[in-house]
């Protein structure tokens, strides 16, 4: 661990965790969010999709690819979900799950057992219309991105409403279908203001500080940013969802770098390939970077397996790792922060 404040950030690819698991089991199916617990366990929320809802649930893994099982699943009962959007873990290792279809927040204990849930549909205080991003503020209260109400609501960990900030629009402090949210170590709150193509920064009480970004595909521009992470030195990592990339900025929004992903076979993926001789043989002559006749990022990523395809969430791991979760490739890539 270093105590030196690093002035610049680059990301160096080191590993891939994941595997497509449409029916559940070791792997993920259309994952949309993940969270790291303080003991290093990584929880991955698979939203799954029509035709294979058995893949819905929360999987547990670690940085060394060990598989620790899965819990929850598709349904409307206690502890189940329909359209899961986000997870966050509090200081007591309780996991909070947002479901934008059932308009509720569900709590699981540290053993992954269902505890309780709350939530009412609506647009008034303490009502939800599409809870999506989740994070805990500096005081341990839960921040809920109430995205179709274009605001952030704050709750105690027991589900008691505290306050909210934001409204619909594109002015400072307003939102247009916000998605991901995170809290930095200094207590500041960062929100991926999805359809405004920017990241907004707030004081811990919700007072607007600044915003960065505009629509586009250049450096510092965004196309529907879905998630943001901040490391202990204040460097900012953004999942630039529709540009199929991750951008890095310093705390003053100075552009640092862009990564597109360079996934290799995870151990789970390698197990599968090795067990299927026909695919193994075919893969021996596989060129992961074929010459393409398209340049639209979605199409490029669809045809280039190592690239991010729908990078939906980013999170730091320890003080020198960044994890990037990809919905359409059922995996997350691990980068060293250098």
């Amino acid at each position: 661990m270093t105590t030196e404040i690093r002035k610049q950030r680059q990301l160096k690819y080191i590993d891939t965790n994941g595997f497509g698991a449409a029916q559940g089991g070791r792997g993920y199916h259309f994952p949309v969010d993940f969270a790291v617990r303080k003991d290093g366990l990584i929880f991955v929320l698979s939203r799954s999709g029509q035709g294979s809802l058995a893949g819905t649930g929360i999987s547990v893994t670690d940085i060394d690819h060990n598989w620790h099982g899965e819990f929850s699943g598709y349904g409307t009962g206690d502890g189940e979900m329909q359209w899961g959007t986000a997870i966050a873990i509090d200081s007591s290792d309780r996991l909070f799950l947002a479901d934008e279809k059932m308009q509720r927040i569900t709590i699981f204990d540290s053993e992954n057992n269902y505890v309780s849930h709350w939530g009412t549909a609506g647009s008034g205080p303490n009502e939800f219309d599409g809870p999506s991003g989740l994070a805990f503020d500096a005081n341990g209260n839960l921040l809920v991105v109430d995205h179709k109400n274009h605001r952030i609501q704050r709750y105690t960990v027991d589900g008691e409403y505290i306050d909210s900030f934001g409204s619909e629009g594109s002015a400072k402090g307003q939102f247009n279908y916000p998605w991901g949210i995170t809290t930095a170590s200094d207590g500041r709150i960062y929100v991926a203001d999805w359809r405004n193509d920017r990241i907004q920064r707030f004081e811990e009480d919700g007072v607007f500080i600044d915003a960065h970004g505009e629509s586009g595909d250049g450096d510092g521009q965004f196309n529907r940013p879905s998630s943001v992470a901040v490391d202990d030195d204040g460097f900012i990592y953004v999942a630039d969802w529709q540009n199929q990339r991750v951008q890095v900025f310093d705390k003053d929004w100075n552009f640092q770098t862009i990564v597109l992903g360079e996934a290799g076979l995870s151990p789970w993926a390698a197990d599968y390939i090795n067990a299927n001789k026909d695919e193994k043989i075919a893969r021996e002559v596989f060129n992961p970077y074929p010459k393409l006749d398209v340049d639209e990022p979605y199409e490029v990523s669809a045809r280039t397996e190592p690239y991010f395809w729908v990078p939906v969430a980013v999170t730091t791991y320890g003080d020198d790792r960044l994890l990037v979760l990809e919905t359409a490739r059922h995996r997350f890539q691990i980068f060293e922060i250098v």
Partner: protein, 481 residues
């Protein structure tokens, strides 16, 4: 046939055009087209603005499975959103047309992503030069694997694509020889996809493991192309695939064949395609009109259709309601009328499934010959599906489109109560100027009279109008375009 609306007006003619070039018309669409007039509407159809469908970012945020479009419910419903919400339905009608003629099925190619890319290609090239369209088709990864052209090698040809481009896609049986098929196949050797061994293995294994599907990329493998001399349709040379397409496109049989398909899809039901070698077209004059436009306009499909739509043949009374709607036309037309899918919803899967139940799985034609159309669409089971879907869809007075119809009727009758004859005429007009037979008309009138007074400004009146709309979309005549 009796008329409940004023059949003879230009608006009726425009409604006819919008049924064929789109999925019928909402009251607002018909009103706008009426202001443009028939010719102005045609101009707009051939020079469309932004399709402005439900944005893809919204769709993909809510439907995680629409990010990779891998399985049929995902890819089919992704297209369904566009069909229902586009402002340029003619583009979709063209895409459906080529999807039917160049029938490619997800049942074999497995991944829906490449099927959606093929539909995008039809949308982009479908009204342009037939030569360019055939080149794009021959390079289309879904088509290549659908007809095994990845297995068509210079030392060991696979005739599948070479045969079908002649038989099913461009010329029809009787206009080429078996030797032409072989020579055609030779010309397309080397037209393959990148990473063919791995991609075809994954297609065969049909699994998302390890990281989902990788969309296919066309690749020309020069080392596997047979560049030797070929004799094709009477010409000899070291033909490439493009050369063969040139020869196909200038052959008189080609526009004859395509024109008959266009007639079948846009003008009136024809005989099923397998009968075409034995039975001539129903309307040779219409076919010739389009053939002439093809040669006069660099093989332009758009020119063929424009010539057709401007002709008295198309405008004639005998061509009105002369086609049985395809399931897609029933489903999409009714959803557009009801004003559905303003926002992502699981109902899109139900709509896509309903289309399947009626006999048309989007992106999944039953065979390489596509859907036959015409009477083939109708069976006891499919008819029940059609009626139930249309009736259920239009039966919600809170839907935007239903509200708009009720509101227009209320505006027309500010005094309140609407006479049964006027109400039926209004409703038939507002669902796209539908015309019905006497028996149907009398049934609709009897239904309205049974319900008692209808004041469209009240909730009770809105409910009664909604019930009448349900009955109208359940009629035999609603199945016709």
């Amino acid at each position: 046939m009796a008329t409940a609306t004023n059949i003879g007006t230009e608006l009726d003619l425009i409604a006819h055009l919008l049924r064929r070039t789109g999925f019928g018309s909402t009251p607002g669409e018909l009103e706008e087209a009426g202001e443009l007039g028939y010719e102005g509407t045609l101009d707009q159809l051939f020079n469309p603005g932004d399709a402005d469908p439900l944005p893809v970012d919204l769709i993909r945020r809510y439907h995680a499975d629409h990010n990779d479009l891998r399985i049929p419910p995902s890819s089919g419903s992704f297209w369904m959103y566009r069909l229902v919400t586009t402002k340029t339905p003619f583009e979709e009608k063209i895409a459906l047309f080529w999807h039917r003629v160049f029938a490619t099925g997800q049942t074999k190619v497995i991944q829906g992503k490449v099927m959606i890319s093929q539909i995008d290609m039809f949308r982009k090239y479908g009204l342009g030069s037939f030569r360019e369209l055939l080149i794009q088709l021959s390079k289309d990864p879904a088509m290549i694997l659908w007809l095994d052209n990845q297995d068509n090698h210079k030392d060991n040809i696979n005739e599948n694509y070479g045969r079908e481009i002649l038989e099913l896609f461009a010329m029809g049986v009787g206009n080429y020889t078996e030797d032409d098929v072989k020579e055609c196949a030779r010309a397309f050797t080397g037209w393959t996809i990148a990473n063919m061994p791995y991609m075809s293995t994954k297609m065969r294994n049909n699994t998302l493991r390890p990281y989902g599907y990788i969309a296919w990329q066309f690749e020309y493998d020069e080392s596997d192309h047979d560049d030797g001399e070929k004799t094709f349709l009477g010409e000899t040379g070291n033909f490439t695939g493009e050369d063969v397409i040139d020869i196909i496109c200038k052959n008189p049989a080609t526009p004859q064949f395509i024109a008959r398909h266009l007639y079948h899809h846009f003008v009136a039901d024809e005989l099923p395609v397998p009968q075409w070698p034995f039975e001539g077209p129903k309307d040779p004059e219409a076919i010739q009109l389009m053939v002439d436009a093809y040669f006069a306009n660099d093989y332009s499909i758009g020119a063929m259709l424009r010539a057709m739509f401007e002709s008295d043949i198309f405008k004639s009374e005998t061509k009105r309601f002369a086609r049985i709607k395809s399931p897609a036309e029933v489903v999409v037309g009714t959803l557009r009328l009801a004003g559905d899918f303003d926002w992502p919803t699981d109902d899109v899967y139900k709509a896509t499934a309903a289309c399947n139940y009626m006999g048309q799985q989007l992106l999944g034609p039953t065979s390489v010959e596509g859907w036959m159309g015409g009477d083939d669409w109708i069976s006891t089971g499919s008819m029940v599906q059609r009626i139930n879907f249309a009736s259920d869809t239009i039966g919600d007075p809170d839907k935007r489109g239903v509200k708009a119809i009720v509101s227009r009727i209320a505006d027309r009758h500010p005094s309140g109560n609407v006479e049964p004859e006027a109400l039926v005429e209004d409703c038939l007009g507002l669902v796209g100027r539908l015309r019905v037979e006497d028996g149907t008309l009398n049934g609709l009138l009897a239904f309205v009279r049974e319900q008692g007074d209808v004041d469209p400004s009240t909730e009770d009146g809105a409910g009664k109008i909604t019930s009448l709309l349900q009955l109208i979309v359940s009629t035999r005549e609603y199945q016709l375009a």
